[in-house]
């Protein structure tokens, strides 16, 4: 009950926090982008693919969604290197985050794609759109617009979950916190600072997603109504 706060170490250590936060941003921007690609392809495969492809994607999604992220990270980092494939901590972290994020994105995108009514596809057919055009303009974009809030929440979660990669020596924000904490012994202060930085990052990501949404969904931008 007599704790004295001391943030004086910040004067010297703030570049460490900036570097850590920057690596967190880099890791998660790459992971989110690739995860969205993986998830979208898997969602399409799960709906339009053949029976075996559907089962394969289903198995991937259930395997990943029912095992802890930390275990997945350890398997990529330690497992692959035991087999002779040495990947750096950063690359391992991105692979694990993409595989993990991709599985969740698959399910979200699947929900979106399945919400597109059959009549829309028939209309696209009548208009003479090619299969690729139909998937791109009639299926994917409106599907994404419908599930965009769920999708962005998942991406922010992914950013927060990237803190776990500190366990395999990735020097991101949480690892930086652990390092500064072990040097200064000001654990309470350090984790308060890091919590604030994560909060700011989350806010930043949400604003960025909102702006991306404005660009992507022209219809919504002009009409302002939900699909």
């Amino acid at each position: 009950m007599s704790y004295e706060f001391d943030f004086s170490f910040l004067a010297e250590r703030w570049p460490d926090f900036v570097a850590g936060a920057w690596l967190t941003v880099q890791l998660t921007v790459v992971s989110i982008t690739l995860g969205l690609v993986v998830g979208t392809i898997c969602a399409l495969a799960r709906i339009y693919g053949g029976p075996w492809l559907k089962r394969l994607v289903g198995a991937y999604v259930e395997l990943i969604r029912n095992t802890p992220l930390l275990v997945q990270i350890f398997i990529v980092y330690f497992g692959l290197s035991s087999l002779g494939l040495k990947l750096s901590a950063e690359v391992s972290a991105v692979i694990a985050l993409v595989v993990n994020g991709g599985a969740y994105t698959t399910e979200i995108m699947r929900a979106g794609i399945q919400s597109i009514q059959r009549t829309q596809l028939e209309a696209a057919d009548c208009l003479g759109l090619t299969r690729l055009q139909t998937i791109l303009h009639v299926v994917l974009l409106p599907a994404m617009e419908r599930v965009y809030p769920a999708l962005t929440s998942q991406f922010v979660l992914l950013m927060l979950a990237s803190s776990i990669t500190s366990q395999i020596s990735t020097e991101e924000l949480t690892a930086t916190a652990n390092l500064v904490q072990s040097d200064t012994y000001r654990s309470f202060e350090v984790y308060i600072i890091v919590a604030v930085v994560y909060l700011a990052l989350s806010a930043l990501y949400r604003v960025a997603f909102w702006l991306i949404g404005l660009v992507l969904f022209a219809r919504k931008r002009k009409l302002g109504t939900a699909l």
Binding site: S2, G84, A89, I168, Q181
Partner: protein
């Protein structure tokens, strides 16, 4: 509702009161002592084949609790959270390969040392390393926040330090081939080498010899006096040396430790 508020207030007041009382009194009153031990660093702290905590630090803690006449509650900890556990009053003592350093002495008090603890840079026998300069451009695994981490950060500027959260993760990184060189306590090398017979960690450079001591919160004169006296007694009667020998297979320099502690 009123009773709820009242009970919360009473709880808060008693919290404030215990924070200022003497820890040794509190331990005796509670009939139990909370000792933070990292049980993932064999042979100091580990889990034996019956899933019970074992190791030289665990046995030291058990002996201390018995001599104090209280029950032992092991607070599981990791290297970086040993001192925070003390500071946040989650543990009364730390007996967990805690070596005495000036930086740590600013925030916690140390007892008389109960063992010595040389740390080394080790690696595969195929890698020639004779000095810190040989580490230039090479990946060296350390556990974050340990004295090896601090020392190498300062001394081996050319080395690329790869920081893990605990010894088990670092050992796994070495066994799985993520790193070929690591800086750690000499006492850990046999356990690390056992994980993968194809990858034996060989001591290359002796970095520094530390003394291990029992850590406690600052300004606890009664507790410190009791613990100091307990360590001295058990160094002299050979009990601490026997515990160390049982797990590490080597003797501790009892006279040197007593001299360092006086």
């Amino acid at each position: 509702m009123k009773t709820l508020i009242a009970s919360v207030l009473v709880a808060l007041m008693s919290l404030g009161a215990t924070a200022h009382a003497d820890t040794l009194d509190d331990i005796r009153k509670a009939g139990k002592i909370r000792i933070a031990i990292d049980t993932a660093i064999p042979p100091f702290g580990m889990t034996d084949d019956k899933m019970q905590p074992a190791g030289s630090d665990v046995e030291t803690a058990q002996l201390l609790a018995k001599d104090l006449g209280v029950q032992l509650e092991i607070v599981p900890t990791t290297g970086p959270s040993r001192i925070p556990n003390l500071q946040t009053n989650k543990a009364d003592l730390v007996i967990s390969t805690l070596s005495i350093t000036p930086d740590r002495a600013k925030v916690v008090d140390f007892s008389v040392p109960y063992a010595d603890h040389p740390s080394v840079v080790a690696g595969l026998s195929s890698i020639p390393i004779k000095s810190y300069a040989d580490l230039d451009g090479k990946k060296v695994a350390v556990v974050r926040g340990t004295t090896q981490d601090t020392d190498l950060t300062r001394e081996a500027k050319g080395a690329q330090l790869v920081r893990y959260e605990d010894d088990a993760t670092m050992a796994l990184a070495f066994a799985s081939g993520q790193v070929d060189i690591l800086a750690t306590a000499r006492s850990l090398l046999p356990a690390i080498s056992k994980k993968n017979p194809g990858r034996t960690a060989e001591a290359k450079i002796t970095m520094q010899t530390f003394y291990l001591a029992i850590g406690m919160r600052k300004n606890e004169p009664q507790l410190k006096a009791w613990v100091d006296n307990w360590v001295k007694t058990n160094l002299k009667n050979g009990k601490l040396a026997a515990i160390y020998k049982k797990y590490h297979g080597i003797d501790i320099p009892t006279d040197q430790l007593l001299k360092a502690g006086s």
